[in-house]
Amino acid sequence: MSSNIKMTNEEYSDYVDSKAKKSPIFKNFVLAFIVGGIICVIGQVICNISMYFGLDEKSAATVTSIVLIFLGAFLTAINVYWRIGKFAGAGSAVPITGFSNSIVAPAIEFKLDGYILGLGANMFKVAGPVLVYGVATSVGVGFIYWIIKMFFM
């Protein structure tokens, strides 16, 4: 057809890629490292404070997770976390606060559709795959660990 751009699909795809502005990968890496690092430092501070007040290491780790999950949820609810996410990318998505954000964000949005079929049904829309494959992977890793322990330890 004469009225089409004279390129094959592959040529056109390469052409579009060459024109498209690229994501600033280096900047994204640095920001993710810094913000992710800050979140981890905050976690460590919470952990140390908990231990200072007499909790053992395991309980302190649990308290840290709970506090960070609360902070992620709270910052999502007051319309702040998406701004951090836009700035930090993976830096705020990967830590447990990001996991919290990925559950609270759909919960807020789908609440408009009712509590059962809206909020209840869609709350894990974003985090669902992480849960499914996270649980599946931990079962697999646990199984491998069990076998290694049986034969080599």
Partner: protein, 339 residues
């Protein structure tokens, strides 16, 4: 009358009597902010969900059109309307209250020109005297349907575009109705589906540019016109990247459209201050920018001959998940002050 391979020449040249536009806060803060008829700072438009907000917005837009044109709702013969929501609910619920014979359309972001084109055919053929063409889109309802929840912390790619919260409508009437003598619809070129295999939902401009090229090129061939016949060739929401591709492809064919090409998605936002990446998109983008800005330019005779070309990406997130590419379409309508 059909001319060339796919263009319609209007014998009776219907005209656009009046337009109406309404936008949200971000669009008001954009470079064209002062041109829109109505703006609303409340993203919910006084309703309790985003979908109801979109209907309310479209409803206000159409009511404003009726009062601007000073015509009664009962005298409207037909309304062609569409939006981006599943089953076009924004239009359906709006028009439920208006009691006008309704023909719902889905052409993704091309719907505004699609509805203008069909309205013109109804009027030109004498099957109707007054027809409304309207579309809408809402940032929040579109994000919900096509992307991630609003509060989710993530980064958009540089090629991404922002769905415009806005609605536009125009009233198309017979040539001899009332005393206005401008904005006649002379030609229309409905487009074919063009798909160059792009699968990236965050690069709509890149996916849709070939469809715009195809329709504009065909239109020029069918009518025997050169690009510079028009004062402006206005695309809907190709954005920065799509516009660049379109202009470059025409250059490859020996036609320079860089001075006359305008894109509503590029015009409506300012990327530097509003962080909108490649620009605006959505059914409401061309609808509000044409109705709010370009129609006034026609009225003031700053532009006299324009070709409006709205592009649409006819995909759904489901089809993309199933590995499909993005089929794209563009429809063109020529509007001229003199016939």
């Amino acid at each position: 009358m059909k001319v060339g391979s796919q263009t319609i020449k209007f014998k009776n040249t219907p005209k656009i009597l009046e337009t109406s536009s309404i936008v949200g806060k971000k669009e008001k803060e954009g470079p064209l902010g002062n041109y829109f008829d109505i703006t609303n700072e409340d993203i919910f438009f006084g309703k309790d969900t985003f979908e109801k907000a979109e209907s309310e917005m479209m409803s206000e837009c159409i009511n404003n059109l009726l009062s601007k044109a000073n015509v009664d709702v009962s005298s409207i013969d037909n309304i062609f309307a569409g939006d981006l929501l599943n089953q076009c609910i924004a239009s359906g619920y709006t028009i439920r209250d208006l009691q006008i014979p309704f023909l719902g359309l889905y052409g993704a972001c091309s719907t505004f020109v699609e509805s203008t084109l069909l309205s013109s055919i109804f009027v030109d053929g004498g099957y109707a005297n007054k027809v409304i063409a309207a579309t809408s889109s809402h940032f929040c309802s579109a994000e919900r349907q096509f992307r991630l929840p609003l509060e989710h912390g993530n980064q958009k790619t540089p090629t991404a575009q922002v769905t415009v919260t806005g609605s536009g409508s125009c009233l198309i009437v017979q040539k001899d109705f009332s005393t206005t003598n401008d904005a006649y619809i002379t030609y229309a070129t409905p487009g074919k589906i063009v798909d160059y295999g792009i699968k990236d939902m965050t690069n709509m401009g890149g996916a849709m540019a070939p469809a715009a090229f195809n329709t504009i090129y065909t239109h020029l061939e069918d009518t025997g016109r050169k690009p510079d016949y028009y004062d402006a060739i206005i695309t809907g929401d190709l954005g920065v990247l799509g516009s660049e591709i379109l202009v470059e492809q025409f250059k490859n064919e020996g036609m320079d459209i860089s001075n006359i090409h305008k894109d509503c998605g590029v015009l409506i936002f300012d990327d530097n201050s509003q962080d909108t990446h490649c620009g605006g998109s959505g059914c409401g983008c061309m609808a509000s920018v044409f109705s709010g800005y370009f129609f006034k330019q026609l009225k003031e005779k700053k532009l006299n001959k324009i070709l409006i070309v709205a592009t649409g990406a006819l995909m759904s997130p489901l089809a993309i998940q199933q590995g499909e590419s993005i089929p794209c379409i563009a429809h063109a309508v020529a509007i001229e002050n003199e016939v």
